[in-house]
């Protein structure tokens, strides 16, 4: 592979570097705080590799959530990746052996960067692969750094887990600004709060996620019926 392509791919990946390193360091520190050493963080980052859900998984692991809750939350939080993959059906199929790697490394950020690449086919394939590869490296390096850092820091980092809340609030605002239809977001807040009151802290996630996704499926399917009239 040519040097220029590597340099170009690295430049494209700099925004990802900045966000991944810091978020994954926070992840590693949170894992360490919850009692999981750096190699546990590395293992999760290596196998699961999905930003926001990895944070939720920490609290699931330490609270001993049921496998069903883990599965459903993973399914609903990461279902957006399915829609990203759709965009790249043709490109990834043309990439031969690299296809599986490209599928595994699809994230919000690599989607955004690779989607905007405007290059001839061969160079685009190499660049997409390198962006995916580099991003995954940043994420794993940060996870390990965070774990080691969390171990070395003498003070107890009480409240560091708030960075997960902050991340979600920011994603929520981003999504809110991108659309005029706020019903899904408001339904999520309402149903989430309602289920919290009804089922309590330990048990409300499953009914809340089921309730909100059921309502949305109902609304969208209803929308289709309405259109075809």
């Amino acid at each position: 592979m040519k040097k220029e392509i590597f340099r170009a791919a690295f430049v494209c990946s700099i925004p990802i570097l900045c966000s991944y390193i810091f978020v994954s360091i926070a992840y590693g520190i949170m894992m360490q705080n919850a009692g999981f050493p750096w190699f546990a963080s590395l293992f999760v980052s290596l196998t699961v590799y999905t930003g926001a859900f990895q944070f939720v998984l920490i609290t699931f692991l330490s609270s001993g959530a049921s496998l069903l809750t883990v599965a459903l939350t993973a399914f609903l939080m990461n279902s957006r990746q399915t829609f990203y993959s759709l965009t790249f059906l043709k490109e990834f199929r043309a990439m031969g052996k690299r296809k599986l790697y490209m599928i595994h490394t699809m994230t919000d950020e690599t989607y955004a960067v690779n989607y905007t690449l405007d290059l001839p086919e061969k160079e685009k394939q190499d660049t997409m692969f390198l962006v995916a590869f580099l991003s995954r490296c940043y994420w794993m390096i940060g996870s390990v750094l965070g774990g080691v850092l969390g171990q070395l820091l003498p003070v107890e980092l009480n409240g560091i887990d708030f960075c997960m809340t902050a991340l979600f609030v920011i994603i929520f605002i981003d999504q809110w600004e991108k659309t005029k239809k706020h019903t899904p977001a408001l339904a999520g807040l309402a149903i989430g709060t309602l289920c919290l009151v009804l089922f309590g802290q330990q048990r409300f996630m499953l009914p809340a996620l089921l309730g909100v996704s059921g309502l949305l499926v109902f609304m969208q399917a209803g929308g289709r019926a309405h259109e075809s009239e």
Partner: protein, 107 residues
């Protein structure tokens, strides 16, 4: 925590995540298109799920009004205001978390 408690959830989550990323390659051969309602669901679902997750993050607020609720809601306010103002993800995460940690230690 033992390996028996750690591995099953992690591997399950990894398998589901990979499956979701690979799903379109399993379903769509050639030029087949997604049905419209599924496409709209794909646009509506993420913000609803994120809203539930925010409730999840703030779930302890109801039981401990002074100790947790006040710092949490103030810090969420800091994140929202700074993000609306600058649109700098890292800055808002750092500001909110710092405010939360300080409030938690001092209230």
């Amino acid at each position: 925590m033992s390996l028996n408690e750690f591995l099953p959830p992690v591997l399950l989550a990894a398998a589901i995540t990979f499956f979701l990323r690979a799903l379109p390659f399993l379903i769509f051969h050639g030029e087949k298109r997604m049905p419209g309602w599924l496409e709209r669901l794909g646009q509506a679902l993420p913000s609803a799920i994120m809203a539930v997750l925010i409730v999840y993050c703030l779930k302890d607020a109801g039981t401990d009004l002074r100790g947790v609720a006040l710092p949490q809601f103030l810090a969420v306010g800091v994140v929202a205001v700074t993000y609306k103002w600058k649109h700098q993800t890292l800055f808002s995460i750092a500001a909110g978390t710092l405010v939360y940690m300080i409030l938690l230690a001092n209230l």
